[in-house]
Symmetry: C2
Subunit: 181 residues, 2 copies
Amino acid sequence: MNFCSQCGGAVSLTTPPDDNLPRHVCTACGTIHYLNPKLVVGCIVEWEGRILLCRRSIEPRYGLWTLPAGFMENGETAREAAQRETLEEARAHVEIDDAFALISVPHVNQVHLFYRARLLEASFSPGLETLETALFAEEAIPWREIAFQTVTLCLRAFFSDRAAREFHFHEAALPPVSGRI
Amino acid sequence: MNFCSQCGGAVSLTTPPDDNLPRHVCTACGTIHYLNPKLVVGCIVEWEGRILLCRRSIEPRYGLWTLPAGFMENGETAREAAQRETLEEARAHVEIDDAFALISVPHVNQVHLFYRARLLEASFSPGLETLETALFAEEAIPWREIAFQTVTLCLRAFFSDRAAREFHFHEAALPPVSGRI
């Protein structure tokens, strides 16, 4: 951040009074610009026991498989975000079930939130950010080609809970040293 | 948003190609500036069955009671945010337990996340954004003087679960018509 989005003045990194972190503060109008983590919201979509995955047509992780998920937008609820992202990335209509996992990814300033969901009909196809969409049985999940660690974590917890016939909420953080999402 | 934080150029609200929402796009350098919801993270701190509340010394809701909570910062995990906010607002050291509630507040572009936690010692006092800190038994909670609807929701769910001797994760959204947090 170099300029103030309010007045166009130059910003400098200084710690405001009563604060304890350096912020981007406008040298002209004094506006303090805070930078905060973003929520990435998606879902684990089930159809007859199989899971819907999307192969990414965009960077990062072009060509790898992921759960339908993306940045939550202003003005929507987390559930709406999960539903919208699934529609956009996999052209799939889903009913959202319980929240399933929340994973902090501090080294990229993100928090990933996944719901369980089920397909309303066996209909899906790649959206703009997707090369391919497909349903995978647990045994067929392409573990070595999963795009993000949070997706791997989430899927492993899902299958473990499903085997135990009891889903509960999972909360975790990726270690900052891991260097990837 | 009037100016580009990258180059200082004027921004205009236009829908980029392959997008479906208007964004603040720089007319000079083309940078797209996304605005996303912020996470507010806090905790329900217990000490011998009583709950730690903070009376706000800042707007909005000056003088009303809230759970220690605040905006999550870049570079931290959600748990670290809950712990830090409790230290800043109530000068209290806590051990964070399970995630307890996630509440979307779409009309203010926020998501509130609360953990259960316990005080490590019976020591707390007002931080800079707090007039007063106190422990309340369930019967003494000042329900009519709670600062935010999400805090009321969270406390009610907490006492209900505690009475049932089983805590589970709660996920909800405030109706957009409510007009307040």
